[in-house]
Symmetry: C2
């Protein structure tokens, strides 16, 4: 039996304001909830229509009805489980390996995909400007597939941090040098900009290197999606 105040809390967590107020976020789907239960992220409560999906040591899972899940879910087709987790404290950014900096990425699917890419390519630190979409937004979490538990994501004053950083700042621009011609070292900050406007002027002025992805054929495609561009840049940084 789920009380009304619990459903109200879960619904309020759709909004960033309440997520920050309670330091809680909501995740849906068996796979992602299981990944978070295995991680360092603290579990607050898991509700499931089928608690047998979870082993006893994973968590205390509260059994709920389909109807209750429908009431609390943000999905059209709820998927058996909804978990509430504590927003982890962020750690200081470690510049001894590559860091990705996002300057106003606004689409939740793009941020989720970039978090998953960071995880794949062993990027542990993701720095986001305050106007980048919130990483605990449900659509972001859906696209990360659980990777969010393994990346240190810090929202902070981008210009200030870039000014203080003692590593190469590598901005991505339409008119930069080919990323295929670069020799990437083991450290640096890769800056990716907003979907429509790219990297902001203030951040552009702080970039010591400007790179881009060459295009082939006589295409008139104006640009690649920021998440697919991130995939290619990260691949170039890591492939050696």
């Amino acid at each position: 039996m789920v009380v009304k105040s619990q459903i109200k809390l879960i619904k309020s967590l759709l909004q960033k304001k309440y997520r920050n107020q309670h330091s809680l976020f909501v995740v849906e789907g068996v796979k992602t909830v299981k990944e978070l239960l295995k991680s360092d992220i603290q579990c607050y409560q898991v509700y499931s229509t089928d608690p047998s999906l979870f082993s006893a040591d994973e968590s205390t899972v509260q059994q709920i009805t389909e109807k209750e899940l429908n009431q609390m879910s943000n999905l059209k087709t709820p998927n058996k489980v909804l978990g509430i987790f504590r927003i982890p404290e962020t750690k200081t950014i470690d510049f001894s390996n590559w860091v990705i900096a996002l300057d106003g990425v606004s689409d939740p699917g793009n941020l989720g995909t970039i978090i998953r890419l960071c995880d794949w390519f062993g990027i542990r630190n993701l720095l986001c400007s305050p106007n980048t979409v919130d990483c605990y937004n449900p659509k972001v979490l859906q696209a990360t597939m659980g990777s969010i538990s393994r990346i240190n994501i810090v929202y902070d004053n981008l210009p200030k941090i870039l000014k203080d950083a003692k590593v190469l700042i590598c901005g991505t621009f339409m008119d930069g040098e080919s990323c295929y011609q670069q020799k990437f070292n083991n450290t640096g900050i890769l800056v990716m900009g907003n979907e429509a406007n790219g990297v902001s002027k203030e951040i552009e002025a702080l970039c010591s290197q400007r790179i881009s992805i060459p295009h082939f054929g006589n295409s008139t495609t104006e640009s690649l999606n920021v998440a697919t561009a991130a995939a290619i840049f990260l691949s170039e940084i890591r492939r050696g």
Copy 2:
């Protein structure tokens, strides 16, 4: 003044069955409609709340009211224009350059992103299994950003075409050889599989090469999204 039968036609084109029956598809948004008007794709009708956005030589644009646009649009926030275009006839696949083959890609956003990537990387031919999502699905078109007019997209019997093709068939698998270690020639077929199940057994048996994207760090991410993986493979094929 838009008559009811026109709105009924437009609404019916949300379904693949009616798109194929009428050989028509619908596109929304100023940028994409303008791109299609510039292309070889034949225009059937353009409706806009602001025909002055289009030059006289672009097309005969029928002025409509906001209310009429809301009635015909499939978007929550309609964007000034809706165009109906004729589905172009597909050409024979040209194997003298790289071809991408999709084996059951089901997410419209992924297909749209892959079409845009093909355009960027100068891939002119995209071969899709019949169970791959329809490329004239509105969500696909939204993600292509107009690139669809520049790619020859053929839905056909994948096993049959692969058997007859005289070029390298390069499948993408989790346990393939590193794509960073390959020397790619100027021809080949890159096969990408379904989001959940990968390349099907039948197609797998036809692949002469198996490649994958190495992962870095101690990540436990199981896989990359098919569209971001396509970005990395296409970049590897073209970078030389």
